[in-house]
Amino acid sequence: MLFNSLDFAVFLPLVFILFWSFKSLKIQNFVVVAASYIFYGWWDWKFLTLILFSSVLDYFVALKIESTSAVKKRKILLSLSMLTNLGLLGFFKYFNFFIENISEAFSFFGQPIELGRLDIILPVGISFYTFQTMSYTIDVYRKQLKASNDFIAFSAFVSFFPQLVAGPIERATHLLPQFLKKRSFNYSLAIDGMRQMLWGFFKKIVIADNCSQYANEIFNNYQDQNGATLLVGALCFTFQIYGDFSGYSDIAIGTARLFGFDLKQNFNFPYFSRDIAEFWRRWHISLSTWFRDYLYIPLGGSQGGVFYKVRNTFIIFLVSGFWHGANWTFIIWGLLNAIYFLPLLLTNRNRRHVGDIAKDKFFPDVKSILGMIGTFILTVFAWIFFRSETVTQAFSIIRTIISPSILNVPELSKLSDFYLLSFAILFFLFIEWQGRHCKFALEHLGLKWRRVWRVSFYYVLIFAIFWFYGQEKEFIYFQF
């Protein structure tokens, strides 16, 4: 079920009423599980077995780990959980990629072999819930968390519908306890949630879906486009992916708040970052911190000599790229980000910008502006790889962008729509900029305004959402 569908518009109020109709924590958790399974099964009920399997496996493995003190046995149990989860992920997501690459490698060395591809459908959101369940087992193994003995609560944690298919990837230490303590409806939290959802829908429907039309048209016909048009395409994708993914996170966090749950902030205005290190502290935070805690730090993090720093940085960015999809384009995207990041790490300048941007003033200083522009350009460049179907396509696009045809006029269809979209993007950036110190752009905006202005502002957003609402488009991150 898509957030931006009529189905969800009916589903959410029904679940909300049902959930709060019960006082019992157990029944509320059961409602969450049932609703989440319906939400997920709306795509394909057959894949529910995967979630159920993951839930059962990690529930029992964690209990077993906790009851065992023998280090070796604990390690075996952890390995069992990790291998099974990663095995499922690897099979559904990466099997064909490896088969194709092995075949190509053999052909390259003059020994062509026939390896059959499998006609596999990638289960929606598998990368997200797999990582979520793995974090639980690892935390129990590390004795940072007590294993849950409430299967319904644990299933609710694994399958919680607002963040099931595209995150934020929640840690068991943060979300699971919320299923175990009594909840009461909180008006302010719910209203806050509604505002965050409204902003999420604006990002998705007004910004992302409309940018996607231009990005798709330009990237799909890249051979016929001049440099200027391709640059517009890359910029459109830059805003599309941010609007799409952070919009999803906002809707997810907002929806969770309606039910009294607090989910982690997943985006912290990344396009206002002053360097790449700051960008990665602000972009897809739940995944970056996951990799940091469960991969980077166990590898040694930034401790040790230069070799280890370089190795660990490359590993984490390559894995992050590969997590996004089984394609060399994602791997190069990760590699590129590692190359951007390394100089900052090696010169100990990766934590220069940890504070707020332009704190206590509206306009940033010149240095920050230059930093933001530079980081934005690097990011747009990297997104070209992320969006392209093949590495050849990405290089061809970059070649055309840096050719003299960059000075031509962009050739765009539906110019009046594009001007309207450009205006919407400027409005969006303005709202994001003024809300950059908050958890989401609308968190405090308008709270001190006169009621009539505040309500009018919300209606402008609602009106824009209806105005731009076209066909229901899937969120990009569903495929990851």
Binding site: L6, F22, K182, F185, G470, Q471
Partner: protein, 326 residues
């Protein structure tokens, strides 16, 4: 009391929240309903469909939309719209023709693709119906709705939000602010000049013809006949026209079926065939559409020759440029 605190019904905060959401919901619904009623009233007023001094009407899909520059022919109006099948043209003409006594002749595009199954997709296909249903819904009778519903089970889901506000606002703006009625609402058609020249590139990929693309449309003939009847009822002359297309556009197999279809079912309606009129690649935007220059040349040529054409046959001119030089 404590026990009741967390339950849905007795929680004060929940009630406050529900009232707030209901207020927003109610206001939004009132706003949307108001918009709909206003737009509905406008779209049903004869004034909205007034074409003024127009005597010649061009209609059909993107081929005439890009081919007839109505500024070059006095008292003419191009109401063609890309992706428009006869079903939607009929709905539009049903509003235009009875309200405009001055219109004498309707030129309707009749090209090869008009008879094939692609037109069914243009009528009730998933992609097009999402745009067209909210736009044309106010013009439909129950019979039209049933016709669509028979082929598109998702129909009722489409009206609620998809482009709904946009369509109604466009109707209101075109009437209240621009004051030109449907003529200022480009969503109901109008001449579109295309600037690119791409026919030469497209030629390389001469399409492979699939069996599916040779199947005859279910709905096309029905609504073409309805358009003919509508013209007769309103005392207008209907003339079918095939606009110029690139020489590689029509597959020979399609052409044979097209000619046979026309002879069998539409022999009583005059037909002007300009399909092969233009040869120069530079006058095409792509294989199916003239570019701006091509449209201007063709419109002038059309205006000069339309009364002299042999309406019963397939008179083909080898070079429009040659004719225009005369």
């Amino acid at each position: 009391m404590d026990k009741k605190k967390n339950s849905f019904i007795f929680n004060f905060e929940m009630r406050q929240f529900a009232i707030k959401i209901l207020k927003y919901g109610l206001f939004t619904m009132l706003f949307v309903t108001g918009l709909f009623l206003w737009s509905y009233q406008i779209i049903h007023s004869p004034d909205y469909w007034n074409t003024g001094q127009t005597e010649i009407l061009f209609s059909g899909h993107s081929h005439p939309e890009c081919a007839f520059n109505d500024k070059l022919i006095s008292k003419s109006l191009n109401v063609s719209k890309s992706g428009e099948s006869y079903f939607y043209t009929y709905l539009k003409l049903r509003k235009i023709l009875p309200n405009n006594k001055k219109i004498k002749v309707v030129y309707l595009e009749f090209g090869t693709n008009n008879i094939f199954q692609v037109m069914d997709n243009w009528t009730w296909g998933d992609k097009i119906i999402g745009q067209n249903y909210p736009r044309f819904h106010p013009l439909m009778t129950t019979q039209d709705e049933l016709f669509l519903k028979k082929n598109q089970p998702q129909l009722s889901n489409l009206l609620v939000p998809k482009t709904f506000i946009k369509e109604n606002v466009f109707t209101i703006v075109s009437k209240v602010f621009i004051r030109k009625g449907f003529r200022s609402n480009t969503r109901f058609g109008g001449f579109v000049p295309l600037r690119r020249v791409k026919a030469t590139q497209d030629m390389a990929e001469m399409a492979q013809i699939s069996e599916d693309s040779l199947k005859i449309s279910k709905g096309s003939l029905t609504y073409l006949k309805k358009i003919n009847r509508l013209c007769i009822q309103n005392g207008k002359k209907l003339i079918l026209v095939r606009c110029p297309v690139h020489r590689d556009y029509t597959h020979p197999k399609q052409e044979v079926i097209f000619q046979e279809y026309r002879r069998n079912y539409l022999n009583n309606i005059p037909f002007l065939d300009y399909g092969n009129l233009i040869e120069a690649d530079s006058l095409f935007s792509d294989k199916g559409h003239l570019n701006e220059k091509g449209a201007d040349l063709f419109t002038q040529y059309f205006n000069k020759t339309r009364n002299e054409m042999d309406l019963s046959g397939f008179k083909i001119y080898s070079s429009v440029e040659m004719e225009l030089k005369k």
